[in-house]
Subunit: 286 residues, 2 copies
């Protein structure tokens, strides 16, 4: 059984439309609050050689990326830490604080627990004007499909391409880009944490249209042979770029790197170079 | 090293006043939002014999209790679940949803992860009018000290008093009570998750006064010999009652059970029957 099968089960227990986006959306005065929670733990999420500071940074970056993908501005982060060794706490908290500071958020609290395996759950809150909120649903045939930067870099580092270690260990959530794209009026957006192919399938699940990409246009990780790079860009996990759809006239958006990789189509399918694209990538398995 | 020593370390990394309360406080239009996150896991938090439904209920109750302790109304809950076995998910989610429904909150999302040991992190959001927010800081000499119900019941169940199993396994957060006490204008409040003695020491740490209780006035768990009951009421963990201070004229508050157990004093100390009260109770240890 994989994560997405379990998500379907959850859709029978809580309102399914609540599960469509990277964040929950909550009324907050005349603005909207978005909220996201993410669990990471040592075995599956923290690569060998990662420092405690980097673990704290990454746990925070993951939730800030979710906030960015809604077009929202990050506000507060809470961190629940299941600590295996107390001496790790300082590095983790400093990494989380520094990531918050770098992206305009504040670390405001959390919880501590003793745990056999280091486990960090970050919860992020952000705000956005209602007209600037971007959801996964909203793509329209004729829109371009684009991403904010090279794909597959984190997976490239895991495959031994050390020049990409920094992207793997100290990921940069696309906060400025998410805000710019929300302001510009993109039609649908999400972050690509489990690989481009799975993300496109996630968009397919909530939109009444399809997505056709041209793998020749994918921004690939530097220094990796092209065939391997394309595989990593399609199916590698750990990227923090945003994937979005937009009416063609909107691009370029000032200050936002955007690589057009395809087009939204009427037929409800995912095509890569005209052929169906596998639904595979990074999934938790039990 | 224990949890509270690590909290002091955290106070050197993030604003210490952020750590004083059960929830973080965040501006939200003309109201305030409160946010709390709590990590529970099988070994230390879920008693033997607890069902998955009860684990989901308890994880949710813990965060709703934090919200109640600020005088706020619960709004939304996010649940991050580190699952050891996929077949446990349905029960956990249904327990969380049912606890939300019972107390006027909505389960709006979360995250799923595969984990060796069942780990649940609940994050709760609530709102409150600024003038009704209650913090741990605010007690004044002359205030009465009170609790909303019997103490030590959860620990009594762990000690084998089966009549208290329901209080242990299906705790009831004091949401209605917290709202009523916030409206009435109590001066300081928190929930008693780690025992009365530790909670009083937590109040001492953030107030410029002291706390004197009369152990003869403690509401004890039914069916437990008095000496043991008093020990459980002072030092047992797992209770979900609220501890608060209030000007004497405020009580009784309509619809809120309140047991006066002592009085706020000028001297910065904790006294039980006139003698210093140990700072002990439930603490995570590494």
């Amino acid at each position: 059984m994989d994560e997405r099968s379990l998500h379907r089960l959850i859709g029978t227990i809580i309102a399914p439309e609540r599960l469509e986006d990277d964040c929950a959306v909550i009324p907050c005065g005349d603005r909207l609050m978005v909220a996201s929670t993410d669990m990471l733990h040592e075995t599956t999420d923290f690569p060998a050689g990662m420092t405690d500071w980097q673990a704290g940074w990454m746990a925070t970056a993951v939730t800030l990326s979710d906030i960015a993908s809604m077009g929202a501005a990050p506000g507060q982060v809470l961190l629940a830490v299941g600590l295996d060794k107390p001496e790790r706490l300082r590095g983790i908290m400093e990494g989380a604080r520094d990531c918050c500071t770098a992206f305009g958020a504040e670390l405001v609290g959390g919880d501590l627990d003793a745990h056999r395996e280091l486990t960090i759950v970050s919860t992020g809150l952000g705000t956005v004007a209602p007209e600037r909120l971007v959801r996964r649903r909203g793509a329209r045939p004729g829109d371009v499909i684009a991403v904010t930067g090279p794909l597959g870099e984190a997976q490239a580092a895991l495959n031994g391409y050390d020049r990409h270690r920094k992207e793997l260990l100290e990921p940069q959530p696309r906060v400025k880009e998410g805000l710019g794209l929300g302001r510009a009026g993109v039609s649908a957006m999400m972050d690509i944490s489990d690989g481009l192919a799975l993300s496109l399938h996630d968009l397919l699940a909530v939109n009444d249209c399809g997505f056709s990409i041209d793998t020749g246009r994918l921004p690939l990780p530097a220094g990796v042979p092209e065939d391997e790079g394309r595989e990593l860009a399609l199916y590698g996990g750990g990227d923090f770029e945003l994937l979005f759809c937009a009416p063609p006239g909107i691009l370029p958006v000032p200050g936002v790197e955007a690589h057009v990789i395809g087009r939204v189509i009427v037929e409800r399918t995912i095509l890569a170079d005209g052929k169906p694209l596998d639904r595979r990538g990074y999934l938790h398995e039990w």
